[in-house]
Amino acid sequence: MTMQLVEEGPAATTDEIMTVVAARELRDGVVCFVGIGMPSTAANLARHTHAPAAVLIYESGTIGAKPTRPPLSIGDGELAQTADAVVSVPEIFSYWLQAGRVDVGFLGAAQVDRFGNINTTVVGDYAHPKVRLPGAGGAPEIAASAGQTFIMLRQSPRTFVERLDFRTSVGHAEGQDSRSRLGMTGAGPQVVITDIGVLRPDGSGELVLTALHPGRTVQEAVAATGWPLVVHQALQVTASPTAEELRVLRALTAGVS
């Protein structure tokens, strides 16, 4: 895999490439409901680079949070200190998310399927799981009610699966118009950013590989996908992180493990 050399500083890591590519998806002024971990880091990178007016909402009830570094939890004190408003948890989910005031829901996942449905509940059988994952949290309603959703996860046969062990949050359901027939107000997943590349739904809602990160190959992407992966005719290569993007990202995450 090719590492991108930038002036002054080590090459971008896989996580950094994912984060930078994800951050670029957020337009300035977007109202984004942010999941913890990489989505939160990406959203904060966006706010510190091209999208200073992005409004970050965390499920802890902080609206317009402006943390100086990505928080460890969705309820860190700095989120409340820097927010435009702090509301209760019932209010954030009802008045703000359910009522349609969120443009983008930015989620992580343990598993996705070809239609961008998400599992964060169990690996294996529900009653006797191999791995008990944290569960739904805010994701099912974010996935249902945000204007669109962006998803970030590392791509492997264990994470990109033919069949989810549990459907925690709905993407494009079974494809075609099955999502809208469920009565969902949001448009569902519009982009999935992985360590290998970028996938976007085609007209049927199936995730198609539309871009590779520099140095990654179609073969790697296919091998890391548990269903027959469709590759877009006009496959792109994502632009390497710029020196500025990496500088800001590293300043944001300095001292954060």
Partner: protein
């Protein structure tokens, strides 16, 4: 009317074996001191309710207090798994743990219904997910006005609601600011309630956003740093090192058991536990 009590007395007079107990605090103001006291008094067969069972419920589940967990997200935020919770679900240790699993929006609707004295809450949620298949307390309902298919979830009405807050005035009115979670709903939905607070003040701080009047709270106990390792806005920061160190303590049954003995059963109260924490870096 709120009674000022020691935490030990507040737990002894409000929390009983077999109770449904909701301890709330969304990352902020998690009532750790009260949870430790429940463990110390060896309460058992509890149904523990909490949106985000984190390290506190990991401790209570590992200590054998719980028969059932009602929740929406069980993890160590930003760190990883709850190993005691996982071992209870995956291997039934130290005892099998029944689970009733929801989403945050569903749990929030259940608390609001409970606080409102309604039998159920309603939301656009769960549709198309596998949750309704495994959780009996999720049902479809038709809006009588528009015909829209919505989801109903039953009210939460815990026997006891337990929260931590920044302040109480001398009359027993409780004040909270910063991230407020479902603190208010957890108290109002419950039959009885315990509020631990950082301090008693003559007048509540002007930053206070949520006030629980004295007459809706059963017991108040003054417990400085009672939310550690979570935080109390305006008083102390979240102890992220503790959350990270918990990973190693909780991974191993024996390490966990000796931690519970040393920090809970062999201490007289939360202040002694805090003194231990201040003195030592958690075994890594």
């Amino acid at each position: 009317m709120a009674t000022f009590q020691s935490l030990a007395d507040a737990v002894a007079s409000n929390v009983f074996d077999g109770d449904v107990v909701a301890m709330e605090g969304f990352t902020h103001l998690i009532p750790y001191a009260a949870g430790h006291e429940v463990i110390r008094q060896r309460r058992s067969d509890l149904t523990l309710v909490r949106m985000t069972p984190d390290v506190l419920y990991d401790q209570m589940i590992g200590a054998g207090c719980a028969r059932k967990l009602v929740f929406s997200w069980g993890g160590n935020p930003g760190v990883g798994s709850l190993h005691r919770f996982r071992e209870a679900v995956e291997q039934g240790w130290p005892r099998p743990l029944q689970i009733e699993e929801h989403s945050h929006a569903g749990m929030a609707a259940r608390y609001v219904a409970g606080a409102s004295g309604l039998p159920f809450g309603v939301l656009r949620g769960y549709v198309g997910t596998d949750l309704p298949e495994h959780t009996a307390t999720i049902a479809s309902i038709t809006c009588p006005f528009t015909g829209e298919q919505l989801t109903a979830v039953p009210a939460l009405a815990p026997d006891v609601g337990i929260i931590h807050a920044q302040q109480v005035d001398r009359c027993g009115n409780v004040g909270i600011w910063g991230i407020q979670g479902v603190q208010k709903e957890a108290v109002l939905a419950a039959k009885r309630s315990i509020v631990t607070v950082e301090e008693v003040v003559d007048e509540l701080d002007p930053r206070v956003r949520v006030v629980l009047p004295a007459w809706v709270v059963s017991s108040i106990a003054i417990v400085p740093r009672g939310a550690h390792p979570s935080y109390a806005h305006g008083y102390y920061e979240r102890d992220n090192d503790f959350y990270q160190a918990w990973e190693a303590v909780s991974r191993d049954r024996a390490a966990f058991a000796s931690w519970v003995d040393e920090h809970i059963h062999d201490t007289g109260g939360f202040a002694e536990h805090l003194a231990l924490v201040d003195r030592q870096v958690l075994p890594a």
